[in-house]
Amino acid sequence: MNTYGVQAIYRFEMARWLRTLGQSLFSPVLSTSLYFIVFGSAIGSRMMEIGGVSYGEFIVPGLIMLSILTESVSNASFGIYMPRWAGTIYELLSAPVSAFEAVCGYVGAAATKSVIIGLVILATARLFVNYEVQNWPAMLAFLVLTSISFCLFGFILGVLADGFEKLQIVPMLILTPLTFLGGTFYSIDMLPEPWRTVTLFNPVVYLISGFRWAFFGAQAADVNIVVSLSAIGVFLAACLAIVWRIFKTGYRLKA
């Protein structure tokens, strides 16, 4: 195991993020605060409880998940796309670094950033609503697992993308709508048929539901926790398989 190599990639990626720490953290914190002001305070005060928790509390897991998904994909895709774009990828390809080690470095750093952002948003939410987390270990595990899965997904996008604009398409046009429609601001039980059934095809529903389960217990979750865990497990396995294949064949990395 090339641990120095993994450390080098990890530190390099974290240093890149730390150079712009202010904007990296300020942007998600600001947008989350605005959501809390609009949905939590202004609208939330007129809403009834959902699953035994106030509306302000109910949206906390969804809002964290909204930021985590987009930040994970953006950070990881940018991390591997930049060396491809700048040509510095030659150094990674000529180094004694295996696919697993490269992924540990790049995805590890991107996932760390996502988890930090998630925790900062969690702390910010506390300024607006007085939530309680029922199961801290499960909440942290979900946070880490979701971050890693979507960082892997972002890594794949970064390898496939052939322009900066394409890096933005998936987070903006696919992930954000899926997250909004995946129960961030409501329980899918509130939807009439057939939209409730249609929503079950949205994979983000299972992530938010599982995360909410860790916060408030089964009464606030839309689907069974086992189903949520299975969904994220399948997604993680699929991403790992694709990344392994990319490095094995050198697809879009090597001629």
Partner: protein, 309 residues
């Protein structure tokens, strides 16, 4: 005799587009030598280097670096190799010392600030260590690329057009640095367009053209074997034609008949010059000056490449 540090066996490369960049190549590069790979643009030099370094997948064949197969045992092989690519690929926002330290870690070596300092000092980069790369000149960026390649103390160093676009002073500095590395046991493989660079530094020369290695030879032997010598006689009055009495000598008139040029085999024991001079006297051809010149590596390179077209 030195043993090979790189062994290339039947390595070929055909890109997905169908372009055959390399026909099967066999080559041994000896431990501790400076090997110059010459060839026109698109000849396959960079493809060959990229295969050895792991950047391009070969279509066939095997390569070993210091006894390690570059595919099966890629980690051990790559730890021995440093690469300075042709293009200036750098992380513009990074500091010099950070990017060089990053390279050392990436190649699996523990931090060694003393070595990094030595490399930066040797390349006159120490004073710039805290500068961002984007603030450096092109020549300084080239030095940073070399520093990155040397950060993990490689036994084999590939320099792909290392002095392209750098000024004469920096080129001389780099030549001195390359010689210093060789004295420390590093094997150096360089590709270059500057034939004088190969002539100045290389122990052996390989010429590649259209993906084919057309000659590999010890530089001096190549120049002796394929180089030709010429004796030029400056005549006091122009000649209209070569006198009949000089038949049998490979002579030609130049400079409007004011020069008589005699080509001879530099390797031959008897160059024929004394006999020619005596014969000139016999037929009444006088001369006011004479000099000899030998073809350069560039002349040889051009003639070899033209021979294959």
């Amino acid at each position: 005799m030195a043993e090979p540090i790189i062994s290339i066996r039947d390595v070929s490369k055909t890109y997905k587009s169908g372009l055959q960049a390399l026909k099967p190549i066999n080559l041994d590069i000896m431990k501790g030598e400076i090997f110059a790979l010459l060839g026109p643009n698109g000849a396959g030099k960079t493809t060959l280097i990229s295969i050895i370094c792991g950047i391009v997948n070969p279509s066939s064949g095997t390569v070993t670096a210091d006894g390690h197969d570059i595919i099966r045992d890629y980690k051990a092989a790559r730890r021995k190799i440093g690469l300075v690519p042709q293009e200036l690929h750098t992380d513009a926002f990074e500091r010099v010392i950070d990017t060089v330290s990053f390279s050392r870690g990436l190649f699996g070596f523990a931090p060694n600030p003393a070595h990094i300092e030595k490399v930066l000092r040797d390349l006159s980069l120490w004073e710039k260590r805290n500068d961002k790369i984007m603030a450096l000149s092109g020549g300084m960026k080239r030095r940073v690329m070399i520093a990155k390649a040397l950060s993990h103390e490689p036994k084999i160093l590939f320099l792909d057009e290392p002095t392209a676009g750098v000024d004469v002073e920096l080129r001389r500095d780099m030549w001195a640095m390359v010689r210093g590395l060789r004295e420390n046991g590093v094997t150096i493989i360089l590709t270059t367009h500057y034939i004088e660079e190969a002539e100045e530094m290389a122990d052996r020369v390989g010429v590649i053209d259209k993906g084919q290695l057309i000659v590999v030879e010890e530089k001096n032997a190549l120049m002796r074997k394929l180089g030709k010598k010429q004796l030029t006689l400056e005549l006091p009055a122009p000649l209209e034609r070569i006198p009949d009495g000089l038949n049998g000598y490979t002579l030609e008139l130049a400079a409007g008949g004011n020069q008589l040029i005699y080509s001879f085999d530099a390797q031959a024991e008897d160059t024929g010059i004394p006999a020619l001079l005596k014969r000139l006297s016999d037929v009444g051809v006088d001369f006011k000056d004479l000099h000899t010149e030998q073809s350069s590596l560039e002349d040889i390179f051009v003639s070899l490449v033209h021979r294959t077209t």
